[in-house]
Symmetry: C2
Subunit: 180 residues, 2 copies
């Protein structure tokens, strides 16, 4: 049965392929429901994805959770970026006197029956005023624990060594090896 | 053709009925997509609603937009309430040195063909530290322009006189009178 990764991002597809081997990218425009629980959002997408064609599907979510905001923005990060941006997020962390945060990739996997299983990779870190020009999105304000650089100050090579996505995909790979 | 208001809230249904006359409530659990534009969210709900049965459908959204946050939380207000709550929202307004805001009800109407039309009622106001015990949700932090009380300090009778929902429904009523 085909293994299909729902993404329009070639970089993410390459990262998944390096770990899972034979995998196809499929650029479906699936509805994204409102929730701060990434699993609920992924579950709803997988339920739609399995209707489109036979196969096993993978859906991925990358989110940033601020300790001081009790889990916001989480999967709603996109709307924070569009409105207040990195400066605004850093200002919020400061106003709530808590710069602790977690960056988390969740991968959902569903074979033909549509039942989702989840695999995660995460890093604890600190929200800092924006620094650095590499990467994208909230990379400039996320400084992972144990480093004095933000993700936007990492080189691509350095970033590969701390990939949350790779960790999540490794977990999925082990699951597939055992269950197939 | 039946006029169906998608809501599980008897108070909102009564408010709509007082203006539109014959109208039925229907408690559909429609998927709520991520967006900070209420119209997009309503449009997606109406597209699903018209599939369930013949009729004309009404979907309503009530949101709070903070000037300092460039439109956040807007229709994502539910997740802000669940995480940082009224105290957190007031703290954000303060941190961004801008307590201006707008409370807005948007009503979407679609007859059988599913094409949505929109009708709005809104109030400008100020975000204040929580005060008052009436109402619900963000009522304690919303002080409408021209008043020295928050919505949570209004009596139900006073609140009826400043209903954004009524304004929006009146606009829909005029539209239906002209077009039916």
């Amino acid at each position: 049965m085909d293994l299909l990764f729902v993404t329009g991002n070639e970089g993410k597809l390459a990262e998944a392929r390096a770990i899972l081997g034979e995998i196809q990218g499929i650029d479906l425009d699936l509805p994204e429901i409102q929730d701060i629980d990434a699993r609920k959002i992924i579950e709803a997408k997988l339920a739609e994805a399995v209707k489109t064609q036979p196969g096993s599907f993978i859906v991925e979510d990358t989110s940033l959770y601020l300790d001081g905001l009790n889990g916001l923005p989480g999967p709603l990060i996109k709307w924070f970026m569009k409105t207040v941006g990195n400066e605004g997020l850093a200002k919020m962390a400061e106003a709530f006197a808590n710069t602790g945060c977690e960056a988390r990739v969740v991968i959902g996997y569903a074979d033909g029956d549509g039942k989702a299983e989840f695999f995660e990779g995460s890093f604890r870190g600190t929200i800092v005023p924006p620094r650095g020009d590499n990467g994208f999105g909230w990379d400039p304000i996320f400084q992972p624990e144990g480093y004095d650089k933000t993700f936007a100050e990492f080189t691509q090579e350095e970033k590969n060594t701390v990939s949350m996505r790779r960790i999540a995909f490794e977990k999925l790979r082990k699951h597939l090896v055992i269950n197939r």
